[in-house]
């Protein structure tokens, strides 16, 4: 299957010698939902930010739809959308105005922009509230609006950092279903989360990351089988413990 994202040996160093992400490699195929899971500070957000061209890589590369993040950042940005963790929107704009503004950034074609907005409004399912100021929205409504913004332009790859964090069960479920629906239509997703149950439900493939290193990549079923675990949480615990043990042994 066609690869939408191919990450090879990607490293990001904030301070000299201290890597937030080290030699990270994985790929995401068309219509696939790839989830990066790991504890806080594992390097998930850094990896995602490098792929989203927000940060520059120190080593390695990521190819998005045939474009390198190193020297074709703008082309990469044409093929992706990024939803940061706990992101907000411009509170003085209405939901519709926000979608219109973002659509105008993603396309110069007015008709196309109108289509994006129409689609965005439908996806957000905010009804009449779409004409209200974002400042009056609940957290769930804002997140739905932002997610609709991320998918309305039908990017090749939607990068979502903790897409359901802080949401109640119903809103989280709705968003997970939405992600699955768009993936089935051919859109690829790169997610990050530390909610293992969510990942197990929504993702096609999982990458376990800790201390900046990708420790395992596979489907939930493959990983559960490999580690004789009943769920992804157990897999994660075993993988991380094993990695810590390796680290301790190598240090000694």
């Amino acid at each position: 299957m066609e690869k939408v994202l191919e990450v090879t040996g990607l490293s990001k160093m904030y301070k000299k010698g201290i890597y937030a992400a080290k030699e990270v490699s994985f790929d995401v195929k068309k219509g696939e939902i790839f989830a990066l899971i790991g504890p806080n500070g594992a390097g998930k957000t850094t990896t995602i930010r490098v792929i989203a061209t927000l940060l520059t890589a120190n080593e390695g590369d990521a190819i998005v739809n045939g474009h390198s993040i190193l020297n074709e950042a703008e082309k990469v940005r044409e093929n992706i959308t990024y939803l940061p963790d706990e992101a907000g929107a411009y509170k003085t704009m209405t939901g519709k105005q926000y979608l219109e503004f973002m659509a105008s950034i993603y396309t110069a074609d007015k008709e196309k922009a109108k289509e994006f907005v129409k689609s965005g409004i439908e996806i957000a399912e905010l009804g009449e509230r779409i004409n209200d100021k974002i400042g009056t929205y609940s957290r769930g409504m804002t997140r739905k609006l932002l997610l609709s913004r991320a998918v309305m332009s039908r990017p090749a790859l939607a990068i979502l950092d903790e897409p359901t964090s802080g949401l109640d069960i119903l809103n989280a479920l709705e968003i997970r279903r939405m992600i699955k629906r768009f993936a089935s239509e051919g859109m690829s997703f790169l997610l990050s989360s530390h909610n293992m149950l969510e990942i197990e439900f929504v993702s096609d493939k999982v990458g376990i990351i800790a201390k900046g290193h990708i420790l395992e990549v596979g489907t939930s079923a493959e990983l559960k089988e490999k580690y004789s675990a009943s769920n992804l949480e157990e897999v994660f615990e075993k993988v991380v413990k094993e990695a810590n043990l390796h680290e301790e042994l190598s240090e000694n």
């Binding site: 930010r49 927000l54 940060l55 703008e74 940005r77 929107a89 932002l146």
Partner: protein, 449 residues
């Protein structure tokens, strides 16, 4: 116990490193201002205790009159005058050879002179009305720069002539009203190459509207613009709308330039509003002085009215200042990690505008000690606070030097802003005070995650 736990927690919350920096900055601010004022006050006191006299009369009476200015009475603890000493250094005698007062005063390095005209002694002896000429060279509208010893000398002269008049005419204190008019003072104020027959204190009062109100307007404008952009950038950063924008198919230069252009538009609008408001204020103030337009005429005679080109230069200066404020605020805004730190980041702008704001109200910056002057001139906002005075008093070299300095500073600030916006720093740079793990010391973290 519970109360003390609460109190301890509250103090800990309030007494942050940021609060300490604020206190230190306040201390530095007052020390700098104190130093600056100390130097200038010394000069003011020195100048206010030296009488500059041009004795064109050269009669015994005028010589005696001048001698009275050198008297230093020595009194006992009870206040009784015990002895009289003379300090000849209190009087500086100069010769005024022409009507070009500006050149004459500059030649003698003085800012004012009292001229005792020829025939003064004779007239006074005969009990006739006499006239003295008080000439002041004004080079600034600030409060402390126009203090001279002339007023005290005039009072002494009046008293002396009055006594002589009483003695010669055998008058009593009942005739005091007549006595008051014996000495007439002809005031002349010289500014640049223009002069008008008006007291410098009157000119100072007319100019005080500028020296008091204009700095307030500038100060408010700088703080307002700074808050505007720091708030905008920090909110985008805190809400992560910035990350969304940066990952969209648009160049970072476009994002920065759109922000700058929008800010510049607001800056231009502010400058225009400022200038309209300023000219309205001046018209209003001058219009409210019901003296048949005499005040306006005098100021016009002295070249102290703003022309269209002056307003343009002021507007240009203001626009540049606002651009610098916005550029610096862009950088500061990028350092914010939360609403509290965004507020803290306002501090440098506030302090940098407060120093020239307070100084320019009272002193002529050009007369400050060289080190203090350089420090004050290095603050970009100083040039805005002194712009109108520079234009009015013809210190155009200072105006243009300040303008050039601000322009260079703007380019530097913009370059830094572009570098920050086009690098990882826009997302990783924060201003925080993290505890060092082992040493327990605090450190200022500017770059990196």
């Amino acid at each position: 116990m519970k109360f003390f736990s609460l109190l301890k927690k509250e103090i800990r919350e309030l007494l942050t490193p940021t609060a300490f920096i604020g206190m230190i900055c306040t201390l530095i601010l007052f020390v700098v201002i104190g130093e600056a004022f100390g130097g200038i006050m010394e000069e003011v006191v020195d100048e206010a205790s030296t009488y500059v006299i041009c004795d064109q009369d050269k009669s015994d009476f005028s010589t005696q009159l001048i001698k009275t200015l050198t008297i230093i009475p020595e009194s006992t603890e009870s206040g009784k005058i015990e002895d009289i000493k003379y300090d000849i250094d209190r009087v500086k005698l100069i010769d005024i050879e022409s009507d070009d007062y500006q050149a004459e005063l500059k030649k003698h390095d003085v800012s004012s002179v009292l001229i005792i005209p020829k025939g003064f002694g004779d007239k006074a002896q005969k009990g006739e009305e006499v006239e003295i000429h008080n000439i002041t060279l004004m080079s600034s509208g600030s409060m402390l720069s126009n203090i001279s010893a002339n007023d005290a000398a005039i009072e002494t002269f009046k008293a002396q002539v009055k006594s002589l008049f009483y003695v010669n005419n055998g008058l009593s204190t009942d005739n005091i009203v007549k006595g008051e008019t014996i000495v007439q003072v002809k005031d002349t104020t010289v500014i640049k190459d223009k002069s008008a027959d008006i007291s410098s204190s009157v000119v100072s009062s007319l100019l005080s509207t500028q020296s008091l109100f204009v700095p307030i307007v500038i100060f408010v404008l700088i703080i307002y613009c700074s808050q505007l952009i720091i708030g905008a950038i920090s909110t985008e950063k805190i809400d992560k709308t910035f990350e969304t924008l940066l990952s969209a198919p648009v160049t970072r230069i476009s994002i920065l330039s759109s922000k700058m252009l929008a800010a510049a538009t607001i800056a231009a609008l502010n400058a225009v509003v400022y200038m309209i408001g300023f000219s309205r204020m001046m018209n209003g103030i001058m219009g409210s002085v019901d003296d048949g337009g005499a005040s306006s005429k005098v100021l016009e005679e002295l070249g102290l009215t703003l022309t269209t080109s002056s307003y343009f230069l002021l507007g240009l200066q203001m626009f540049l200042t606002i651009l610098i404020t916005l550029a610096v605020s862009l950088i500061l805004g990028a350092l914010a990690k939360d609403a509290k730190s965004a507020q803290t980041l306002m501090m440098p702008i506030t302090f940098l505008s407060m120093v020239p704001y307070m100084l320019t109200m009272f002193v002529d910056i050009r007369t400050l000690p060289i080190i203090v002057r350089l420090v004050v001139y290095a603050i970009p906002f100083t040039h805005t606070f002194i712009a109108s005075e520079n234009i009015l008093f013809g210190h155009m070299n200072v105006y243009w030097a300040g303008f050039a300095y601000q322009l260079v500073l703007l380019v530097i600030c913009l370059t830094v802003a572009v570098k920050i916006f086009t690098s990882d720093k826009i997302l990783t740079m924060t201003l925080s005070f993290d505890k060092k793990s082992k040493a327990g010391k605090k450190k200022l973290k500017l770059f990196g995650k």
